[in-house]
């Protein structure tokens, strides 16, 4: 009985084989909405495809999703080509997606819009970063297919308009899988080679798929990073590519790019002759004006009657000479006066006067001194005479000559009063011509000195 049971693995294998061999589950086309979208780090995409009533698990391996032109998102309606298979481990059937396209809108268009938005946010299309094309380029690099109509249009237009410019073609693949790297590589290479002052990048018209090389990020990066200004000319006027947005100038067609990149020699020649005419006209007017001015001057009074001018000048000169003389004399007088004043002041301050004054003072002083001295001497003589007279008057000898005598005690003491002597005392009476040695015989005292 046990042998009738199947293992889970055997059942799953059986079912898987059924699924694999069913032609309706091979290469089927499915339409639905994406949900539970997950882009695994290893590159595989896991998602659910659903409609209003049902859902199916799906996987798109990295090998397949690498070629997607758009980024799948939840809620996006898609058209899918793939196979139904069984994931044995989970016993679950699922859709293995080979190819996926957005439903209702072309995947390329969607990819274009997505990249455009992304690069726009990064500032790739900002007007202020766009470089100006040189007015008169000297070397133009043409990055396109060397065999297409575009290269012919560009070169013939350049040769017609501005044959003096050097042109160099940098050949690239303009469609197919390798086009983007080829175009980007050429732009980068052109930037390494010195000498290009403009790059024209483009190709002729074609389907969106054919123009797709110019919608890749790698090309946009190369254009964005180019140091040389880039003119983009992809397809026809109505075709817009990412390259057109990223370029410094967008041309409607390759012929248009050539017209934008170079000026027209005819127009320039016209400009140059116009400037030549302007120069000639201006200088003619200028010289005519100058001649008129000169003639006016020649007709002037001064030129017609120069002797009058001289006479007038001579008269003026005389006046000036006269004024000069007056001014000179006036000045000289002023200077003389000043000198005299100074001389007088100097004379007044001469030391001789001071010496004379001093001598005079000295004489005066001498005179005074003599006078004072004489006076002094006379006074002294008078005083001396006076004193002498007084002295003479007081001279006791003189008194004695008139009869007065001086009496001394025996001891030589002057006797002034009778009381200085006693009776019998020996006394000496001195007279003017000698002395008398005497003896006191009697003493008679007188009252009040009478005697």
């Amino acid at each position: 009985m046990e042998d009738n049971y199947l293992t889970v693995s055997a059942l799953t294998k059986y079912i898987k084989r059924k699924f694999t061999t069913d032609p309706h589950l091979k290469n089927l086309w499915l339409k639905g909405e994406i949900s539970n979208f997950k882009h695994h780090s290893r590159g595989h995409m896991y998602l659910t495809i659903k409609d209003d009533n049902a859902r199916v698990q799906a996987v798109m391996f990295a090998g397949n999703n690498r070629r997607l032109k758009f980024q799948p998102e939840n809620g996006m309606n898609v058209l899918i080509r793939g196979d139904i298979g069984v994931f044995e481990q989970f016993g679950q059937y699922q859709l293995y997606i080979q190819q996926m396209e957005p439903d209702g809108i072309g995947s390329l268009y969607l990819a274009f819009e997505q990249l455009k938005e992304k690069l726009s946010k990064k500032g790739y299309f900002d007007e202020q970063r766009k470089k100006e094309l040189p007015k008169f380029p000297e070397h133009i690099g043409i990055i396109t297919s060397p065999t297409g109509a575009a290269v012919r249009d560009i070169i013939t237009t350049i040769k017609r308009r501005y044959p003096i410019v050097q042109t160099t073609i940098i050949p690239v693949l303009v469609q197919g899988e390798n086009a983007p790297s080829s175009i980007a590589g050429a732009i980068n290479k052109a930037n390494q080679i010195t000498g290009f002052d403009v790059l024209i990048v483009g190709r002729g018209g074609g389907s969106i798929e054919e123009l797709w090389g110019f919608n890749e990020e790698i090309v946009a990066n190369a254009i964005y990073n180019s140091q040389i200004p880039v003119v983009s000319a992809v397809g026809h006027e109505t075709d817009m590519t990412i390259s057109d947005f990223a370029a410094d100038v967008r041309a409607p067609t390759p012929t248009g790019a050539a017209e934008i990149a170079v000026p027209s020699t005819l127009e320039l020649l016209h400009n140059v002759s116009s400037m030549q005419r302007s120069l000639t006209r201006i200088i003619s007017e200028k010289t005519a004006t100058a001649s008129q001015h000169l003639n006016r001057i020649k007709q002037s009074y001064a030129f017609r009657y120069p002797e009058q001018l001289i006479a007038q000048k001579e008269q003026e000169l005389d006046k000036y000479v006269e004024r000069l003389g007056t001014a000179f004399n006036h000045e000289r007088r002023r200077k003389d006066e000043r000198l005299s004043g100074l001389n007088a002041r100097l004379e007044a301050l001469h030391p001789r006067r001071q010496i004379e004054r001093t001598i005079k003072d000295l004489k005066q002083l001498n005179k005074q001194l003599n006078y004072v001295m004489t006076k002094q001497l006379e006074q002294s003589q008078d005083r001396q005479q006076n004193s002498l007279e007084k002295l003479t008057l007081l001279n006791p000898l003189e008194t004695m000559k008139r009869g007065y005598a001086i009496t001394y005690s025996s001891s030589g003491k002057l006797l002034k009063t009778v009381k200085d002597a006693a009776e019998s005392d020996e006394i000496t009476v001195k007279l003017s011509d000698g002395k008398l040695v005497s003896r006191v015989l009697d003493i008679e005292e007188e009252k009040d000195g009478e005697g």
Partner: protein
Amino acid sequence: MEKDSNLSFEEAMAELEKIVEKLEKGDVPLEKAISYYQEGMQLSKVCNDKLSNVQEKMTKIMNEQGQFESFEIQEDE
């Protein structure tokens, strides 16, 4: 005037335009104006020569080795 022929076309044109502008302003002294005029005519001749008489430049193409070769337009795509 010898150095004028060494000017690039762009430089010569720019100089010429400047001279015409200066002269058009009208306040240039006569002597200076004559010298400007002579310089301007010389420059216009340089521009003219560069535009009319210079031989056509060759178109070149870069080969796979990165060298330049002369290029002829192929009439058939």
